[in-house]
């Protein structure tokens, strides 16, 4: 049995355990009384906040139950926010605004978005909850990348100028995602389209210019997987160049680096799976030790969802991929409490009903599996989640409707307690977001979190409705069933080799498309209320001018010429380390100072081969 099969058993056992404890609380008076005491204690210590209207509200809302069995079912079955099994949230207070006055209780404010550990903040809570608002990061994190490094840099400054913290999220162009240099044959038209072009670590220096990369108010996310270890090495080299070697342990951020979902859905893989996983584990092993604040893999369902998977498939494949990484890293001898807290997740949020509870269920299964199968401590049990609203749900016809679609999806994402979130721009069916629409996308989140009172006064504001519970139960059962299917192949990797996930996703995509045109899935202004004769709307297109593309090619040529001799030696050294089987990541950090992305990819492919696409 692979670890995934054990996870299925662990969840089933845990569910049984909860039922038994519920019974025990009803029959064993002492135990029952303990649970009731705990419940009353939590309630009495819950601080009371005040809404701008003067309405007083507890900062944590709890179900109106007073019977020992039901209390036990709640506390063990779903847990308080920030407590095992984390159904209601990875952290205690998530998006709550800072307490203006300390009105009750003594526990303090905890990290708003998950980056600040719960425990640590809990200890000096009283201080942290003082009237002076604590500097915390906004959960808004908008994915950006266009043109060359300096263009994306300008967009980053535009997006974060008014924020307390700079949480950047970087999109790369096609050649970069495939580890190809901008001067390669046949890719000129792709330079700087759909993301920015990175060829060398000098581009990386330009990309984050003006930001303090070592600051605790700065974090960078990089959405790239195939060549992720090389790009990560460039990031480190760029930071060292600007801030010296001591900056490395302070670097904060995330790199996607998710090979499994690439092979299952997104297809941006450049080395054979086995070799890709080796390079990835090399990077994770090094960064979890040397850069303890970095997330070296973002286990992603977004692209699985966008490729057409149902929400259950998306969550099931993502969480099972997570367990597969955990199994691999544990097999390398890395302690689970070293790598566990550095695994993060990324899900899609669309309009299907499953999204009411998809992240809640994922968080619960992850926590149980990590604790009971991998023996993880509390920090490694937490499913830390970034959500993006669904790009696939956006439609070109009467595209301003996309604002409403995204708003509804944002609501679902925050109901699910996501730790950070990207809201799509309404113009995304046509173009890399223009400033006009990306501004509205960012404002959408601010309206929900800052302007409206929905999420800032009380935790659990929308948790646990009967409908949500019904969805939760159905989704959990369906996810476990998917796990069993994967387990029948012998686990995640063998299932991948049999194309299991790919074919399931493709079938779901085809069904989705059929449903749009047979009326099962009405799409407003496309298949329903589509009386307006559709003209292509006037949208400002964001494209990279030819001259810029040429500039990137020219800069790369200069870099290559300048480093020609050093590059040869560096690549030889890299080849030697790779062949030896040693961890090659430290060498990569040196190599990127004199080699371009394409040079490194090319040399590695000579050694380990090319990825053979799956259909």
């Amino acid at each position: 049995m692979s670890k995934l099969g054990q996870v299925v058993e662990a969840v089933e056992n845990y569910n049984e355990f909860v039922l038994k404890e519920v019974k025990r609380a009803r029959t064993d008076e002492t135990f029952g009384q303990q649970m009731v005491d705990r419940w009353n204690d939590v309630k009495s210590k819950t601080p009371i906040g005040t809404a701008p209207t003067g309405l007083k509200l507890p900062r944590l809302a709890l179900p109106e139950i007073d019977e020992a069995g039901e209390i036990t079912r709640y506390l063990l079955g779903e847990g308080l926010p920030g407590e095992f099994p984390f159904t209601n949230g990875a952290y205690r207070e998530m998006y709550l605004e800072p307490l203006r006055e300390l009105e009750a209780g003594s526990y303090g404010r905890v990290g708003k978005n998950g980056k600040n550990g719960h425990k640590k903040n809990g200890k000096n809570g009283a201080k942290a909850a003082a009237p002076k608002a604590v500097e915390v990061e906004e959960p808004t994190r908008l994915f950006s990348g266009l043109g060359l490094a300096e263009d994306t840099n300008a967009r980053f400054h535009f997006l974060t100028g008014h924020q307390r913290s700079a949480r950047l999220s970087t999109a790369f162009d096609g050649p970069t995602l495939y580890g190809i240099d901008s001067d390669a044959e046949g890719v000129f038209g792709k330079i700087g389209e759909g993301g920015l072009a990175i060829d060398t670590y000098e581009d990386m220096v330009r990309l984050y210019d003006g930001f303090d990369m070592g600051s605790s108010a700065f974090s960078a996310s990089m959405t790239i997987s195939g060549p992720a270890p090389i790009i990560m090495a460039m990031y480190i080299a760029a930071a060292k160049k600007r801030f010296g070697p001591n900056v490395v342990p302070n670097l904060r951020g995330t790199i996607q680096a998710d090979i499994f979902k690439e092979v299952q859905a997104q297809n941006e893989t450049i080395f054979p799976t086995e070799a890709s996983l080796r390079f990835l584990c090399d990077m994770i092993e090094w960064t979890t030790k040397e850069m303890p604040r970095w997330y070296p893999v973002s286990i992603s369902g977004y692209h699985i969802g966008e490729a057409g998977a149902t929400p259950v498939q998306q969550a099931a494949y993502t969480v099972s991929n997570g367990f597969a990484y955990a199994e691999m890293l544990a097999a390398r001898g890395i302690p689970v409490d070293q790598f566990g807290p550095r695994l993060s997740f990324f899900l899609d949020c669309g309009l299907d009903v499953e999204y009411i509870a998809l992240a809640r269920v994922s968080r619960r299964i992850w926590a149980i599996g990590m604790r009971d199968v991998f023996g993880a401590g509390p920090k490694a049990q937490m499913f830390k989640l970034h959500t993006q609203t669904s790009g696939r749900s956006l439609v070109a016809a009467e595209f301003k409707n996309n604002l409403t679609r995204t708003a509804a999806e944002l609501m679902l994402a925050y109901m699910n307690g996501t730790n950070s979130c990207h809201s799509n721009s309404a113009d995304e069916p046509f173009t890399t977001p223009s400033e006009e629409w990306i501004r509205l996308a960012a404002h959408g989140q601010a309206i929900l979190l800052d302007e409206s009172g929905i999420f800032k006064h009380t935790m659990n504001m929308l948790s646990g409705s009967p409908g949500m519970k019904a969805v939760e139960r159905a989704v959990e059962a369906a996810m476990l069933e998917e796990f069993r299917q994967i387990e029948e192949f012998g686990g995640v990797l063998p299932a991948i080799e049999h194309r299991y996930q790919r074919s399931q996703i493709q079938n779901a995509a085809h069904r989705y498309e059929e449903q749009i045109y047979n009326g099962t899935r009405p799409i407003i202004a496309l298949t329903k209320y589509n009386d307006l004769k559709d003209e292509m709307p006037e949208v400002k297109m964001v494209r990279t001018p030819r001259a810029k593309k040429q500039l990137q090619v020219d800069r790369l040529a200069k870099f290559k010429k300048r480093n020609a001799e050093k590059a040869k030696r560096a690549l030889d050294k890299l080849a030697e380390v790779v062949e030896s089987g040693e961890n090659c990541f430290p060498t990569l950090i040196e190599v990127v100072e004199v080699c371009s992305l394409g040079q490194i990819t090319g040399r590695l492919q000579e050694i380990v081969g090319h990825f053979r696409p799956m259909v």
């Binding site: 162009d173 050649p175 292509m536």
Partner: protein, 388 residues
């Protein structure tokens, strides 16, 4: 009955968005169209070469991450440059392709862009309406060797369309003895690969091609690959998508649908193979559909060496007795020999081959492992008489 429409579909370089094209491929197949799928992250030059060799009516491109104006235009330019603009280019990319882009692209020779919101049915309709019918003869300057060969193969295939079981008269020399003599004179070696589905035939052939191209810098290779037709419908011919090393200037590849014939080959295969064997290639490789191996799929006169590719997971020893091909193949490959069961499989198959007393050779490979020594050995075995 007219021959099915053949189209080639692909996704441009640096683009892995294959959800749309997968769905469209599926829809095309259901409506009787044969789709040669080249895969994602593909160069314009590879698309053009493949479209010419497959002699498709149209080339469909699905592009989602920008640069489409340049890419589509480059494909049209390359087709025109080679005198192959009889192949129409169509495509789409959701909302990323604007009306303005469409104007430029059409001016550059693109036949049709499907905009966001086009239904699958409308696309199928368009293909049936505009890309049906027989090929028109080449016009203008002299067509290239690839173009001529590709067209002859189409003519053979078309002659068989709708004439199940009957042999149409053929321009190709049918005498097997002559065929064999002819190929000997030109030094063409023909290898036949067969084996159950999932054994890794396609990967193995592609790795073999990589080695042949590397060892013999001037060698030219032809590949005839087969995929099953869906009953009453088209076919997805997807081998090109995984055969990354075979998308090469020195390789001529043709994908064929079985069009209702059992046994892993098409009614037109024999004639097509004969033509390829006479066309001056150094190697011709033919691959069957994954079949039950109840009989020898190849006409023995045409194929110099037959290779049976097995998966260690064939089940019990009893299952092995049912595989007739084990008695007939010259070389038996146990692929995926890194799997747990491989050791047992190798010894079971080995003792079966020993009983045959036919000096058949057993090779163990892991085709999907880079630089696999087993594939090197297979390559040596297949080419030994050429190197002598």
């Amino acid at each position: 009955m007219a021959a099915p429409i053949r189209v080639l579909t692909a996704v441009p370089i640096c683009d892995g968005h294959d959800s749309a094209i997968n769905t469209i491929n599926l829809e095309f197949i259901r409506h009787g169209i044969e789709v040669v799928y080249l895969g994602y992250h593909r160069y314009a030059t590879d698309m053009v070469r493949a479209a010419i060799q497959e002699d498709v009516k149209a080339l469909g491109i699905s592009s989602y991450n920008g640069g489409h104006v340049e890419f589509f235009s480059e494909v049209a330019r390359l087709l025109k440059k080679q005198g192959a603009d009889y192949i129409k280019v169509f495509g789409g990319g959701g909302g990323t392709i604007t009306g303005n882009d469409d104007v430029i692209m059409r001016k550059n020779g693109i036949d049709k862009i499907f905009f966001a919101g086009t239904s699958l049915a409308d696309m199928v309709d368009y293909v049936h309406k505009h890309y049906g019918g027989t090929h028109k003869p080449f016009r203008g300057r002299k067509p290239s060797a690839d173009m001529q060969l590709a067209r002859k193969l189409t003519e053979i295939e078309d002659r068989y369309a709708g004439k199940k079981g009957k042999r149409p008269t053929s321009n190709v020399q049918r005498s097997t003895s002559k065929g064999r003599q002819g190929s000997k004179k030109t030094g063409t070696r023909v290898f036949g690969f067969t084996g159950p589905g999932g054994a890794g035939k396609t990967t193995l052939i592609d790795e073999l091609v990589l080695r042949l191209l590397h060892r013999e810098p001037k060698a030219r290779i032809a590949i005839l690959s087969h995929d099953p037709s869906v009953v009453g419908a088209g076919a997805l011919l997807g081998d090109r998508a995984t055969m990354i090393n075979s998308q090469n200037e020195r390789v001529f590849m043709r994908s064929m649908a079985t069009r209702g014939q059992a046994g892993g080959l098409s009614p037109a295969t024999e004639d097509c193979l004969m033509l390829l064997a006479q066309s001056g290639f150094d190697y011709v490789i033919i691959e069957t559909v994954g079949t039950g191996q109840e009989a020898m799929p190849f006409q023995t006169g045409l194929v110099h060496k037959t290779v049976l590719v097995m998966n260690p997971d064939y089940g019990s020893r009893l299952q092995l007795q049912k595989i007739v091909m084990l008695d007939l193949a010259d070389i038996v490959v146990v692929n995926k020999s890194d799997q747990e069961r491989a050791r047992t499989a190798t010894s079971e198959i080995g003792s079966r081959l020993d009983q045959n007393k036919r000096s058949q050779i057993l090779v163990s490979t892991v085709a999907n492992r880079h630089r696999d020594a087993g594939v090197d050995e297979l390559c040596d075995l297949l080419t030994e008489d050429r190197r002598l």
